[in-house]
Subunit: 296 residues, 2 copies
Amino acid sequence: MTILDGKKVSADIKAEIKADVDKMKQRGEKVPHLAAVIVGNDGASLTYVGSKVRACEQVGFESTLIKLSSTISEIELLDKIHQLNKDENIDGFIVQLPLPKQIDTQKVLMQIDPDKDVDGFHPTNFGKMALDMTTFIPATPFGILELLERYNVETKGKHTVVIGRSHIVGRPMSILMGRKGFPGNSTVTLTHSHTKNITQITSQADIIITALGVPNYLKAEMVKDDAVIIDVGITRVPDEDHPKGYVITGDVDFENVSKKVSYITPVPGGVGPMTISMLLKNTLLAREQHRFKKGL
Amino acid sequence: MTILDGKKVSADIKAEIKADVDKMKQRGEKVPHLAAVIVGNDGASLTYVGSKVRACEQVGFESTLIKLSSTISEIELLDKIHQLNKDENIDGFIVQLPLPKQIDTQKVLMQIDPDKDVDGFHPTNFGKMALDMTTFIPATPFGILELLERYNVETKGKHTVVIGRSHIVGRPMSILMGRKGFPGNSTVTLTHSHTKNITQITSQADIIITALGVPNYLKAEMVKDDAVIIDVGITRVPDEDHPKGYVITGDVDFENVSKKVSYITPVPGGVGPMTISMLLKNTLLAREQHRFKKGL
């Protein structure tokens, strides 16, 4: 059994990006610049955005954090988005979710210039992904592809079962695993809350990608020998013995499942750490496309 | 066993659209206007476009057929697309494929205004579809949904297996059957040329949608009792006894499969006739959205 070590791979990717940025600097080129918009003071959101900004610093990117009041109107936020779209100095930007309830999230995401949409949530980028075109792939699915690729996990002709059909993980993952190329060319089954006989389905899978958010959902008896397990679940489970008062728990009963499989991601330290690195990769790609467009 | 009679349903839909158009005329409103661009003299393409124009006439739409020389340059064709995008009188338009080889098809399709893209092939519309937003659904998948809906075929919690991952049928169909709502909420497996043990997979399916283009591919032993079979294959198989010299043959061994299933589409007369009706439906939707935008 091999642990798919997201923490290590993520660090490798950051080091590679940093090397690229160092070369850019040596050539006197502008380095990639990521902006992050956060609305309100939600603790978890502030933590996420903070890590993204720190990651930019680690690899030598420029970054801008734009903090907006939780009482901001939709029009004011849209104005900000339009400013960022026009700002030649910004290569890509993200709007941290969730947004306060007076704001129509879909409307805001639709207004982001697809060429700067490094989260890959804009329909144009999502459609390009589904139509096998080059685009920004949402960070979590992109991170899973990268893990599979770096560990050279065979996906062609394998049966991949995806659990959960969210827009940010399950749905894109189900599309990506069935695309041509590597990783890809899998037979893909997408399961969700209406799926019957889930055990019958998962126990036929060569690769299981679970993004359900139910701690320890996937048991050993649901998994066949030598399967590949990707655990996208991150749930805070209260734990008095832990200094933080909780432990981060995945969808997979790791202790028992890990004994029979060929590859598995741990939680924490698997898919999670990959996400920020892939956001950096998308920002680097945005910078390159931006430069190419301007003929520089 | 019930035949999903696409010919009849398609005629019903056209009658419903005609009734809508008649009301528009009575109210003195502009009727929907579809334009079709065809490049070159390919016989099959001319036939397809001809039927689309005739269908417009049947329901009372305006239509414009734009025939361009097979030697047209990409820039000239793009100019034409931009004219159609700007033309307030045109609600939607299609570019008949295939295009001659001097032209980059993807580039051309990308230039169609998504609000006029009644074929639903633009990445923005494809992405909206995958993200559960309202948009133009490509005609063939849209036709299949409509057939399932009108015959009230249960899809929730059923296992749907899609055979073939083309951009115009298999991929969108696999997405649509797994979306929320009806028809939808299926557990969906997308299979393709790299799939192993296809019989093992199809024989577990409650619903099979095959878009492979291999005549009589799906045999009775690949199908479980009471399954629902949707046959998107249309292949011309040479037949000297037939006046045309060929017969249109589906992917399904109809004679034997039809004996054990609950619902099945015939070929011809199943999915095929639905396609043009759904193009008309998309054009009607484009007209409504166009009118709404202009506040009329």
